[in-house]
Symmetry: C2
Subunit: 361 residues, 2 copies
């Protein structure tokens, strides 16, 4: 009775591997937080090196007064991936996350999903991995000290990625809310990083070769002003990613060599919103591929105007898909209808009732 057994128990085709929040944490712990981010960075670099094989488009937003929901699809011609992500700065007031997300990876030849996963934690990991990857090409050689301005949910991940991938040893932390800095210092207590809590942004920047800004105000802000920024540093501007939201004074941009992920996206959302559309900026994939220069002198201010791009999520999804067989930390989700006869969808519904797997009516 093949029909009955299949109706009672969907075949393998019906199941999609699902990584819950709990399983994502298990995957992170079993692989290690730092190796996990280094691994994602390797996948991102690999994908950026085949930049031209990707279908690229700016994310698709749905705006509300409180925030935005975005779909970020991309494809390399074989695999399709997308992330759903929201950004709602006031969410924390009622205990919700500012940014949450989930994502899917699919086989383009069949259209069938091969991975469905939480992406709140995964986005935090990939964002930090992506920042550190860019800094490997742009930051002064031998950087040891990083200022981190904005000590919210993304800041811990940034510090650890820069420790792991660049050898940063000292963190100088500033937040308008001192409790946020205390929280950050506590979480980094046993990681080998020295954390100094600073009273002003100026204080935080003192002696830093790398300045990471990761604040979340939904408006034009100037976290850094021009006179604060000395020559030779690398600025990793992670906050932002909304039209109308920036962190840096325009004069800093004019003194910097600016690097972006995807020009078309960054001019909508990044710090470069403040500049003319024809202002020279370099896409990072060109630097990774040796087609454009990264850092060329000790005096140069380099700026990574990070807004996040679909290919980075695609890389993170690929990394997780490849990791799951090793860790086993996933569930199987009954997401896809799988009738015996693919043309007999209604028959499957009908038989599920008769077999009692459907409700008794």
């Amino acid at each position: 009775m093949t029909t009955k057994s299949k109706a009672l128990e969907p075949s393998e085709l019906a199941y999609v591997p699902f990584v819950s929040v709990d399983n994502m944490m298990k995957n992170v712990h079993s692989y290690g937080v730092e190796p996990f981010m280094t691994g994602i960075a390797e996948y991102i670099e690999e994908d950026f090196l085949r930049w031209e094989s990707f279908d690229k488009k700016p994310r698709i937003p749905a705006h509300a007064p409180q925030g935005v929901i975005e779909l970020m699809p991309t494809s390399d011609g074989e695999t399709f991936g997308f992330k759903y992500v929201n950004g709602h700065p006031d969410n924390t007031k009622d205990g919700r996350q500012t940014v949450t997300g989930f994502g899917v990876l699919s086989e383009l030849s069949t259209g069938y999903p091969v991975l469905f996963t939480e992406m709140t934690i995964l986005t935090a990991l990939r964002t930090a991995a992506n920042s550190a990857l860019a800094a490997k090409y742009l930051a002064p050689k031998g950087s040891k000290t990083m200022a981190i301005i904005g000590n919210g949910a993304q800041s811990d991940f940034q510090c650890l990625a820069f420790k792991s991938m660049l050898g940063i040893t000292d963190i100088r932390a500033y937040d308008i809310d001192p409790d946020a800095s205390v929280r950050l210092a506590r979480n980094l207590a046993n990681t080998g990083l020295d954390v100094t809590i600073c009273k002003t942004p100026e204080d935080a920047i003192e002696g830093a070769q790398i300045v990471t800004t990761v604040t979340a105000d939904k408006k034009y802000a100037t976290i850094l002003t021009d006179n604060m920024v000395g020559s030779g540093i690398h600025i990793n501007a992670v906050g932002g990613d909304c039209p109308g939201k920036t962190e840096l004074h325009k004069d800093i941009l004019l003194r910097s060599d600016i690097f972006v992920e995807f020009l078309e996206q960054t001019f909508i959302e990044g710090e470069v919103q403040q500049l003319d559309r024809d202002h020279p900026v370099t896409e990072l994939w060109e630097v990774y591929a040796g087609k454009a220069a990264g850092r060329t002198s000790d005096d140069q201010i380099t700026l990574f105007d990070s807004v996040g791009f679909a290919i980075e999520d695609f890389s993170a999804l690929r990394f997780v898909r490849d990791l799951l067989p090793k860790t086993g930390h996933f569930e199987k989700l009954d997401m896809l209808a799988d009738p015996d006869d693919p043309r007999d969808l209604f028959g499957m519904v009908l038989r599920s009732k008769n077999d009692g797997t459907g409700a008794a009516a």
Copy 2:
């Protein structure tokens, strides 16, 4: 020890109601297939009547030689919804579905998903509900006989929706594969519909007031030619929805009054691909709202050039969301990270390790 208990057991904010394929079948059975489709049709009509409040865009496709994956987002300013759907005509060769899908409904004010559901079965139900809704406005009054050309996965749902919502009693079925018609007749055996299996499309159309075409070839085909179509009928053209795929001869289109869901989408994918962009067509919402005429005479040929539109999925998702509290047929999915302190995502990951909910290494 709030921290520990929350780390061990995510709060309600972390969970998203999930309707698996099995639970979708349970929901369908407990509510009844026909009432389920009638219910969706009511929600679609309600949403089409507030057409102007929706954010409308053509779906976002990723093409492969074998088929297409599409994201279909929309929003009414309060709620955001999207469907992931694929179309791969050759999938049935290795036991997969031609069309599968899943969808999400979210609160736009927080960005948090409120429903995640399979949409392979739900799409079949909403497509049939949508066809019958259009036919209520366009088909000849008192229609009793429907020809159905193409007897695949969607055909059963179409027949039942037309029985339930229009009072169709007789089905004349034709498929190039006679086994498909036998399958359809078997599934409809105890539904109160009389099914006649026909040897040719001409035979099937004989005496029918409504002709439904629902074939799946990915090319320009002419399932119906001009001389087959008499005056006064309603054509429900469901197949298609690919650029380069049509079912009807152009001359039929020229003799018909054509109704579409969303002009911009239908000219990309529908039968009207064969016509000039300025050929007069009517959007259905205008008919439902009394702003445009539907059927105006007994001789008129009306044609619904159906391609499927995001708002119909939005309506179907709303219907399921409202149904779930009554049936209880859903699971809770641990999809959203929910730290005690929303700014302390890393702390949640850290504590999950210490608490042993994360893996031991």
